[in-house]
């Protein structure tokens, strides 16, 4: 046990004297993460909203109702309407100040009530594509709604559009009462369909959709596991550093077992990975306001995953004939693993088939479990099983490395 500790201390000293290596391992993923975040539009921020000018030349109850309907929360809060004079609105549109301008013509209200042709003018901002489209869709829905209202109570509406009877300033009470009664009867008739709705809407919640995670959250495991992969690749290369310095031969000539020496290296790697993960997770948990109760387990999982990946890379290096060959091979493995395993692009942005492959890669599997731990959605049984699998993998890789190391030293 003491030699394991001595080996770990020795390696920590060596790493401490070469801090550039650790900066590279952590710096590249942070840089890549930032670039990806920028490429994907950065942090989610406020919801996009279409700013629409409305030139109401009708100034009727119905025209005001239209503007209100567009702006209300039921429209998803995507549209913010602002009343302007038509000339002013057109001038502002020329200055690219809004997503669109709606011009409500004079006589709009009467035309709608009489179900006569009328024209709502929508001037769209050509420099935008999505937001003016939202406004256009919103208006289409209102037009459709008007059509159906006419089908139900169009006759009465037309009467009202004609105005009060000649010689009277207001509608007689009996007309209003009769209209109200017919509205009520119509609604009663429709209630069989509307309340409850004749069409039963069944909603099935897609597991993945329910996990709609913010992009910032997805960046955390992505950057962390990219760092772990870089560290694993670099730590695997340390075998060649030792070999080039002939220190492996000296270890082999000592009474210590090669496995003990490798265990020391695992401890050293674990220490470094632990510190790097601690820094990354502290920053991530703080920034994302994640539940801190999950952090210790997440930290343990990240450390164990990193150590196992490093042991895997060491095993691969031990199968190669030279440092150059080892580096080429491990890099050739690292980058596809990174791409597929959710360390370059989150699984959530991948095609389904690719994500299915990615989650079956070693780092992809570890990354998924990491997310489960952070989001507190893994049950104890599956977690214990995952830790056991990881520890077993580490033990097998260590044994394999020790075996290969002895053989490779005997042949050199």
């Amino acid at each position: 046990m003491r030699f394991i500790w001595s080996t770990a201390v020795k390696d920590w000293r060596r790493r401490w004297r070469n801090p550039l290596e650790i900066f590279m391992w952590t710096g590249i993923p942070i840089l890549v993460g930032l670039l990806i975040a920028l490429a994907f539009g950065g942090r989610s921020g406020p919801r996009p909203q279409a700013h629409v000018f409305v030139a109401d030349n009708d100034q009727s109850f119905l025209s005001r109702l239209l503007v209100g309907a567009l702006s209300q929360e039921a429209a998803g809060g995507f549209i913010r309407a602002e009343a302007v004079a038509e000339d002013e609105g057109r001038a502002l549109m020329d200055k690219n100040k809004a997503s669109g301008l709606i011009v409500i013509p004079d006589g709009f209200s009467k035309a709608v009530l009489r179900e006569q042709p009328t024209k709502l003018e929508l001037v769209k901002n050509p420099s935008q594509t999505i937001l003016p489209g939202i406004v256009e869709e919103g208006l289409s829905i209102l037009v459709d709604g008007t059509f159906y209202v006419h089908r139900l109570v169009g006759k009465d509406l037309r009467k009202f559009a004609d105005g009060p009877p000649q010689g009277a300033n207001t509608f007689p009470d009996e007309s209003i009462a009769a209209f109200s009664t017919r509205i009520n009867q119509t609604m009663t008739r429709l209630s069989g369909y509307l309340s409850p709705l004749a069409i039963k809407l069944e909603t099935s919640v897609d597991e993945k959709e329910s996990d709609t995670l913010s992009f910032e959250f997805l960046l955390l495991p992505m950057i962390l596991f990219m760092t772990l992969l870089f560290m694993a690749q670099g730590m695997g290369d340390d075998f060649w550093e030792e070999r080039n310095q002939n220190t492996l031969r000296r270890v082999r000539s000592s009474p210590q077992h090669v496995l003990t020496f490798l265990a020391g290296k695992v401890l050293s790697n674990a220490g470094i990975i632990f510190v790097v993960s601690l820094v990354a997770l502290s920053a991530g948990y703080g920034f994302l306001r994640l539940n801190p109760a999950t952090m210790p387990l997440a930290l343990l999982w990240a450390t164990l995953s990193g150590v196992s990946l490093a042991a895997g890379m060491t095993s691969i290096q031990l199968f190669t004939a030279s440092q150059r060959a080892g580096n080429i091979l491990t890099l050739a493995i690292t980058f596809p693993l990174m791409m597929l395993g959710g360390s370059f692009f989150p699984f959530e942005t991948m095609p389904e088939w690719m994500a299915a492959i990615g989650t079956r890669t070693p780092n992809g599997w570890a990354l998924q479990r990491f997310k489960d731990i952070v989001l507190h959605r893994a049950d104890t049984g599956s977690l214990v099983l995952s830790f056991v699998v990881l520890l077993l993998a580490l033990a097998v890789l260590l044994y394999l490395s020790a075996h290969r190391l002895k053989r490779s030293l005997a042949r050199s």
């Binding site: 030699f3 082999r252 000539s253």
Partner: protein
């Protein structure tokens, strides 16, 4: 004691060590002398546990290196031919680590490291990174790492290769000190003079086999105090033995159409006779070299070639 019996190591068709046997006693410096590729390093590799012997038996202080590997290596110090140090660590840190590898702990380890730093003359540079040390200092540290745990058996694989004369003298002194303190030392080299000065007993190894073994005196007796006369030119190797036989008092060691090697007492006095008889046969002599009796001449006598060939 290091006891090697009928050691054999083979890589595919290549036999690296064949039927090698020797015993090195405590307090003795036993030299393994031979050219590069003769099998010295393979023998050292097998003794140190780096290589598994194909056949034969090796015991270090009574412990078999195969069946009792860790115990056999516990009292063994190894100074490899190549510098085997952590370049980013200081000499002190290197010694601490290798001392720990052999089970030294705490104050014992610290005291021993300080002692060895002083012995190797590295006290002033104890905290500098190894990569900043000169080649000679690295050699001394390489040696120090092999003796930090006070081994009772010490293997030195050509420790003076490529070092300056001053460092060489210092290293040889350190080796003698180890033997004087009772350690069994096995020392490989291809420097004849070094072996002559340092070793109590020697084994000459060539082409995987030991071809002679004994003290320096015993080995010299094999040569019979005779010089080695090397003649180069153009000869007929079929006729040469007859010519040499006519001369008398000379032994033909090696003969090709370009080179003749003869062993003779006071060879310089017989040089004119050799020239005359070879010329009479129509041979052309271009160059002659006389080597005084030494391990070098013994090696030539035994193998028909110079050690550095």
């Amino acid at each position: 004691m290091i006891d090697v019996q009928r050691l054999r190591k083979q890589y595919g068709d290549l036999v690296a060590v064949d039927d090698v046997s020797f015993t090195a006693q405590p307090g003795e410096i036993f030299g393994l002398l031979g050219p590069n590729g003769a099998g010295k390093s393979t023998t050292i590799g097998c003794i140190s546990g780096l290589l598994r012997p194909g056949a034969g038996r090796i015991r270090i202080l009574g412990h078999d290196v195969v069946s009792d590997g860790p115990e056999s290596r516990r009292q063994l110090g190894v100074v490899p031919q190549e510098i085997a140090l952590y370049e980013d660590l200081s000499p002190r840190e290197n010694l601490l680590y290798w001392g720990a590898a052999y089970g030294l702990r705490g104050s014992e380890l610290n005291e021993r490291v300080a002692e060895v730093l002083a012995v190797a003359g590295l006290v002033d540079r104890a905290k500098d990174p190894v990569k900043k040390l000169s080649g000679g200092l690295k050699r001394r540290l390489n040696f120090a790492c092999g003796i930090v745990h006070r081994p009772k058996a010490l293997l030195l694989d050509e420790p003076t290769v490529g070092v300056d004369p001053q460092t060489r003298v210092r290293l040889l002194e350190l080796v003698r000190e180890q033997a004087k303190n009772g350690a069994t030392v096995v020392y490989t080299t291809h420097y004849m003079e070094e072996a002559e000065k340092l070793c109590d007993r020697l084994a000459i190894i060539d082409r995987a086999r030991i071809i002679a073994e004994g003290t320096l005196l015993e080995l010299r007796a094999l040569l019979g105090e005779r010089d080695i006369l090397r003649v180069t030119g153009r000869f007929d190797s079929r006729k040469v033995p007859e010519v040499i036989a006519r001369l008398g008092g000379m032994e033909l060691v090696h003969c090709t159409d370009e080179t003749i090697m003869l062993a003779a007492s006071e060879a310089s006095k017989k040089l004119s006779d050799v020239f005359r008889d070879l010329s009479l046969e129509g041979f052309e002599v271009r160059e002659t070299t006389i080597t005084q009796p030494s391990l070098e001449s013994l090696f030539i006598k035994l193998t028909g070639k110079e050690l550095r060939e």
